[in-house]
Subunit: 210 residues, 2 copies
C-alpha cells in the first residue's frame, strides 16, 4: 500500500459518501455497480480501487456497508479529526465557515483570520469570531494546525502561505487564484473558479462541433 493516485482518492471519497448514506438507510451490503454509479466510475474500476487495499467483498453478494465505510475512512485518513485554520473572512471565507460538511467530515475549523479591522472581532457564521491575522503565529504555536484554507485576495496569498508553513501547517487548500510556491513537503490543493469555468467553455466548444 504505497502511493494512491489522486483520481483514486477522489473516487474513494465518493464511495464513502454513498456508503454512509447506505449505512443510514440500513442497507447491509453494497455492490460495485451501486458504488460505481455514485462515484462516476465503472464497476470494474470500483473493484480495482478497493482491491488495492485488500479484499473485503463477498463474492456473489457485495461489500459489507459498515465495514467498508470504516476501512475507507481509515484509508482516507479520516479516523481522527483535523484542526483547520481559515485565513480570509471575505465571501469565500463566509461560505466556508458555514459549510456543514466541514465539521461532519472530521475537520474542526479552529480559527478564522483577517487583516481588515472592520471584520476583526465580528462574528463569521455561527461559531466563529474573526481574529487579527497578526496573532496567527502565536495562536498556532499554542494550538498547532496541520491544515489551512487560504481565502484571501490573490495579492496576499503567497505571503500568508509562507507564514502558515513557517508556523507548521503541512497542507493548504488554496482558493486564491494564484499558484503558491511552498516547500515540497507541504501539500497544496488549488480550487480555482476560473479554471472550472474555462473547462466548461472548452466542453461547450466541443459540443458545438458534434
Amino acid at each position: 500500500v504505497r502511493h494512491v493516485a489522486l483520481s483514486t482518492v477522489r473516487r474513494l471519497s465518493l464511495y464513502l459518501q454513498f456508503l454512509e448514506e447506505s449505512e443510514r438507510a440500513g442497507t447491509p451490503t453494497v455492490s460495485s455497480r451501486a458504488l460505481a454509479e455514485r462515484g462516476g466510475a465503472t464497476p470494474a474500476q470500483v473493484r480495482k480501487d478497493l482491491s488495492f487495499f485488500g479484499s473485503f467483498g463477498k463474492r456473489g453478494v457485495g461489500y459489507p456497508t459498515a465495514e467498508l465505510a470504516a476501512r475507507l475512512k481509515d484509508i482516507l485518513g479520516l479516523s481522527h479529526r483535523y484542526r483547520v485554520v481559515l485565513v480570509g473572512a471575505g465571501r469565500i471565507g463566509a461560505a466556508l465557515a458555514a459549510y456543514p460538511g466541514f465539521d461532519a467530515r472530521g475537520f474542526d475549523l479552529a480559527a478564522v483570520y483577517d487583516v481588515d479591522a472592520a471584520k476583526i472581532g465580528k462574528r463569521l457564521g455561527d461559531r466563529h469570531i474573526v481574529r487579527d491575522l497578526a496573532g496567527l503565529e502565536t495562536d498556532l504555536a499554542s494550538q498547532p494546525s496541520q491544515i489551512a484554507v487560504i481565502g484571501t485576495p490573490a495579492a496576499a496569498a503567497q505571503s500568508v502561505a509562507e507564514r502558515l508553513v513557517k508556523a507548521g501547517v503541512r497542507a493548504i487548500l488554496n482558493f486564491a487564484p494564484v499558484p503558491l510556491t511552498v516547500p515540497p513537503e507541504v501539500t497544496v490543493t488549488n480550487v480555482n473558479m476560473a479554471l472550472e469555468l474555462e473547462a466548461l467553455s472548452v466542453a461547450l466548444k466541443h459540443q458545438r462541433r458534434s
Copy 2:
C-alpha cells in the same frame, strides 16, 4: 485537433493567466520554461501541450506573448462571452456573485435565482437582484444561457439540474455535494469541498509515513 484532455485544459488556463500578465508587463516573448513554472508543469510538457494545436513558437526565442494568448483564448473557447445563470443565493452564491474573475474571463452572470421568499427581490453582490426560481424557465426561454452554476443545498440540486437542462443549459458547474444525473450531452463539473479536504487528509497521512 480532436479531444483535449482535462488536465491539459487546466494547464492551458494557467498558461493563459501567465501570458496575460506578461502581456500587461510588456514582455514580448515567453519561453516554455517560464510557462512551465506557472502552470505546474515541465518545459517539455508545455511544448507538448502547445504543439498539439500547432507551432507558434520561435526557436531560440520563445512564444510571442500576445499571439499565443489570443490563440489560447480561442482554444479555450473564450473568444466570445458566455451568459451564466446562478441558482442558489446562499453563501456560495454570494461568493460567486462577488467573484471578479467571472466577468474578467468572459462570463456574464445573467441572473441569480432562489426559492427563499426572504431572499427574492434582495440584492446579491453589486449588480444582482435575486429572482424567484419559479421564473427560471420563462427567463431562459427569452434569454437562453448555456452555462449554469448550482449552489443550492444538496437536496434541491438534482431537480434544479433537470429544470436547467430542460431549459437548454448545456454545461453545469455544481457546488452541491451530490453527483448529478444528466443526459450525456450535458457537461457537469463538480466542485466539492469535502473531496478536496479529504485529498489533503490523505496527503497528510502519507507525509507522516515518510
